[in-house]
């Protein structure tokens, strides 16, 4: 395994990981509660979301290992978990480390979901909203392929996909909130009645 093939492996697995992470985000965002009518099974979407996230983790692992094993530039094992510990391209690799750390937190918390309070699990899962953009910026910051037209187009597609999904989710949540009935008292005439003196005695 020479340095060049390791380098290609790092770049390729990185791109694939970004695509898979984007898909994971989309599948996680586009979920509904109280569906009017759902044309596809929600439980299956949740399952696919999980499985794609596992694939993303696998590709990130390949990406990280090949980048460390490649001795052409020195990154070092410490930089896998500690941000900005890499001598090579300290800042951009550091962003990658941050994205990885957040991803691992999300992943591990989901594995242990049954043992966590729902609020705790949810809070950790929200770190995904930080992990994805950091991974995206890391991709383009590293610079290796980021001038290629197809990579730029891919990046734009990823941003579009997550952006649209996020907008959809925000709108769906607002619609759901608005559909909770307010119970105005105006439909049937009601006295503007204030209870009279409470100290009426026994009859």
């Amino acid at each position: 395994m020479n340095s060049t093939s390791l380098w290609y492996a790092t770049r390729a697995s990185g791109i694939v990981a970004l695509i898979l992470l984007t898909l994971t985000m989309v599948l996680g965002l586009v979920t509904t509660t109280r569906p009017r009518a759902r044309n596809w099974p929600g439980f299956a979407q949740q399952e696919i979301h999980r499985r794609i996230s596992i694939m993303a983790v696998v590709f990130v692992a390949i990406h990280v290992f090949t980048s460390i094993l490649d001795t052409y530039v020195h990154i070092g094992w410490l930089a896998v978990v500690v941000p900005f510990a890499s001598p090579y391209s300290r800042f951009w690799v550091g962003l990658g480390t941050i994205a990885l750390d957040l991803m691992v937190a999300v992943f591990v918390s989901s594995l242990l979901r049954a043992h966590l309070k729902p609020g705790t699990w949810r809070a950790i899962h929200w770190l995904a909203y930080a992990s994805w953009p950091v991974a995206l910026i890391h991709t383009f910051g590293m610079g290796t392929d980021s001038r290629e037209h197809w990579v730029i187009a891919l990046g734009a597609l990823c941003v579009l996909a997550v952006g649209l999904s996020l907008a959809w989710r925000v709108r769906a949540a607002a619609k759901r909130r608005a559909s909770v009935p307010t119970t105005a008292n105006h439909l049937v005439p009601l006295n503007p009645h204030v209870t009279t003196a409470r100290t009426r005695g026994p009859l």
């Binding site: 509660t33 109280r34 569906p35 099974p41 929600g42 439980f43 949740q46 729902p118």
Partner: protein
């Protein structure tokens, strides 16, 4: 084995009704209505899956003797 749903935790994701339509149906607002009959053994695997998959952990399985 019976199904019990915590109505406070439930937020009508509807996955349980998709997995177990034989025992769970949805009312007009998307919330689950559970058939109170004891579960068939063939449905047990699906029932356990419904318990695992509920995003709000609102569904549990009870022994017939407890609860």
């Amino acid at each position: 084995m019976r199904i019990r749903i915590d109505p406070v935790a439930c937020e009508a994701y509807g996955y349980c009704a998709e997995l177990l339509p034989e025992a769970i149906s949805l009312d007009e607002w998307g919330y689950p209505i559970v058939d109170d009959r004891p579960l068939d053994s063939e449905l047990m695997a699906l029932a356990k899956r419904a318990v695992r998959d509920c995003p709000k952990r609102a569904i549990t399985l009870l022994d017939k003797t407890s609860g």
